[in-house]
């Protein structure tokens, strides 16, 4: 009884999902020439830039982050680094001081009581006077060309107010990191295409670069349900400030190593997305906010619930099949046969065809993501982990985020998220 209802409801969602995929793919291919042209361009103008590095107990990764910033292919007199120690309890401050001592003209260290990432970034912003301002989480690392690639977009178009980079998982080793490696790969395609549609959903913590006037116009970072990067992006869209993507600006971030860490990180993101989207619900279905307000934001919101629904549908189907196998096993035991090929038994219903087409388009998007980035990932090594586990993992954090949002639960779990 439940299954036919779930089955029937699946079609409208499949239609919307396929519409979304086709919309993005057509956008990408119609802009492909322009994107290729951009890849060959280099900025010869160097505005002053401040990069804030907010840290809270980052002794393990801070040095690597700072080394990567110091190796940026950018004039040293135009690049300032402000390390804000947000009340760390480990050796973070000591490491920061060493770098400040060695690079007094480029690095400045500020220390304060713990107050959250947004307070740390705002302190760095207040202490800077540069043309551009960005942030790099202390567990992320930039490729030498990253800043120049980003600055190109800001130089050629004065209406571009912020540029977001291309993010990879750094050295994915564990099973969970391999899942994230593929997830970030598909996001390269999404981010590029969203940029072409002026509908970037989030200017992420690792190395999104803003013009200073953005903060003059819309104010500084806010706590924003522990997802300040998403909130500031929504505020930029509300103020009609354009955000682009530089797919050649490579940034590497350390993904959570365990399922627990991964779960809490995604829970924070999903909860932040829901809470902020509700706070900014006035953007939904408003033509003045273009593709973002009319399509991308509503569909992202819808997909939270669709993800849960699709998971329920898949899990119900798999569970029924397992029950069938188990019942058969209990009744007659296990008697394997060689499968016989008979086209008669092939599944040829509408859902199978549509799913096949959608899966092909997903692979195409993944391929595009991989070709856009200069860093080719170990696709075949990482894909099985993603394909097998991710569909079952997503509903866990989405479901919890929806419940927490609905019941307005406090965010104690944020403390367990190692990546703030």
């Amino acid at each position: 009884m439940i299954y036919p209802i779930l089955h029937g409801l699946m079609y409208p969602f499949l239609f919307i999902s396929m519409y979304f995929q086709i919309f993005l793919l057509t956008t990408f291919f119609e802009n492909k020439k322009k994107i290729k042209h951009e890849e060959k361009q280099k900025s010869e103008v160097y505005p002053t830039v401040t990069i804030a590095v907010p840290c809270w107990n980052e002794e393990k990764t801070l040095a690597g982050t700072l080394d990567s910033l110091l190796q940026l292919d950018y004039p040293k007199d135009k690049l300032s680094i402000v390390i804000v120690d947000d009340g760390s309890l480990d050796k973070t401050l000591a490491i920061a001081k060493v770098y400040e001592f060695k690079n007094p003209n480029q690095i400045k260290v500020i220390t304060k009581e713990n107050g959250g990432k947004h307070t740390a970034v705002n302190l760095a912003l207040a202490s800077s006077t540069s043309d551009l301002f960005g942030c790099l989480d202390a567990d992320s690392f930039v490729a030498p060309n990253a800043l120049r690639s980003i600055v190109y977009y800001l130089n050629v178009d004065s209406t571009v107010m912020a540029v977001v980079p291309c993010i990879h998982i750094r050295n994915p080793r564990t099973f969970v990191q391999r899942i994230q490696a593929i997830e970030y790969l598909i996001n390269i395609f999404f981010r590029k295409t969203y940029g072409e549609l002026d509908a970037i959903q989030v200017a992420p913590g690792p190395f999104s670069i803003f013009r200073r006037e953005v903060f003059d116009k819309i104010g500084v970072y806010r706590k924003a349900h522990n997802t300040e990067d998403f909130e500031i992006t929504l505020r930029m869209h509300r103020a009609h400030l354009k955000i682009m993507n530089s797919h050649k600006a490579l940034v590497y971030t350390i993904g959570p190593e365990t399922f627990k860490g991964f779960f809490y990180q995604r829970l924070r993101w999903a909860r932040g997305f829901l809470e902020n989207a509700l706070d900014y619900r006035d953007l939904f279905f408003k033509k003045e906010y273009g593709n973002f307000g009319m399509f991308m934001l509503p569909i992202a919101f819808l997909f939270v619930f669709y993800g849960l629904y699709a998971a329920a549908f898949i899990i119900y189907g798999l569970f029924s099949q397992v029950i069938t196998w188990f019942t058969r096993f209990m009744v007659v035991g296990f008697h394997p046969h060689f499968p016989t090929f008979d086209f008669f038994y092939f599944n040829t219903n509408v859902m199978s065809f549509v799913t096949m087409v959608m899966f092909s388009m997903f692979l195409l998007a993944l391929y595009v993501g991989n070709t856009l980035s200069d860093d080719k990932q170990e696709f075949f090594k990482n894909f099985p982990a993603y394909f097998i586990v991710y569909p079952f993992f997503v509903p866990l954090f989405l479901g919890r985020a929806v419940i927490d949002t609905f019941f307005k639960r406090r965010n104690e779990w944020v403390l367990q998220d190692t990546k703030k």
Binding site: Y19, I22, G290, F344
Partner: protein, 251 residues
């Protein structure tokens, strides 16, 4: 800036893909029905042929009527019909028609087997199970009984299983229900003209089946294995002969 044309264009492409999927699915589903119909027609011809042969029995000795008189395709047809039912739903007109046709073919096959046994004696006596089930959610054990019968058919290829949907609106099935006094308690199984109500395991059914089936199956499979190694082209002939001989000897 929103590009309205692109939104419309995307809608057109998405709709076209869905329409193509719908037409492809309908096409293959219809092909499946046609395939089942075609198998049923073949079986109908087989049965008609057997009936004609049977009418001639007065002039032909029993030894000339082999096991092949009974249609071997009935069991695979049952599987394919189940698949078609799962695909199109039990209420689908084509499915209902195919199930009625299938039920009639089974009854004809059953009647023919019995006639053959009466005329030619125990050597030609078929061993069969008549199975009444329901898939309307009112028979908790029917799914399990289905697994048991499928397994039995794997163990005893000579066993003939005639399955009937208790709720199918067909007077011939109603007559079968009356003959074997099958009420709404399901699953119901008829073995050697005795009706058993309720779930039966493989072991329980094996005890109810005549020993001749087990001996015939074991001997036939052993004989097949030996002959396959020695001289593969002779398999069919030898196996058939062995089944007939063993059955005779056992009786």
């Amino acid at each position: 800036m929103m590009d309205t044309k692109k939104y419309i264009f995307t809608f057109a492409i998405t709709s076209a893909i869905f329409a193509t999927a719908f037409f492809a699915s309908t096409f293959f589903s219809n092909k499946r029905v046609e395939s089942v119909k075609s198998i049923q027609d073949n079986i109908a011809i087989d049965i008609l042929s057997s009936e004609t042969q049977f009418s001639l029995l007065g002039e032909v000795p029993c030894s000339n009527v082999g096991e092949s008189s009974l249609s071997p395709e009935l069991s695979t047809l049952g599987d394919k019909l189940s698949r078609t039912e799962a695909d199109r739903g039990a209420e689908d007109n084509d499915v209902v028609y195919l199930k009625k046709y299938y039920s009639l073919l089974q009854i004809k096959d059953y009647l023919l087997s019995k006639k053959l046994a009466n005329k030619c004696g125990a050597a030609k006596k078929p061993i069969f199970i008549i199975y009444f089930y329901s898939n309307q959610g009112d028979c908790a054990d029917c799914e399990k009984e289905g697994y048991v019968l499928t397994r039995l058919r794997e163990i005893y290829p000579d066993l003939r299983i005639y399955s009937f949907d208790y709720n199918l609106d067909l007077t011939a099935i109603d007559s079968m229900k009356t003959i074997y006094r099958v009420k709404s308690s399901l699953p119901a199984l008829v073995i050697e003209d005795k009706t058993y109500i309720g779930f039966k395991t493989v072991e329980e059914l094996e005890k109810l089946l005549p020993d001749t089936l087990k001996v015939a199956t074991t001997t036939a499979s052993l004989s097949k294995k030996v002959i396959v190694k020695q001289n593969p082209p002779k398999v069919t002939v030898t196996a058939t002969t062995t089944v007939a001989t063993t059955t005779k000897a056992a009786d």
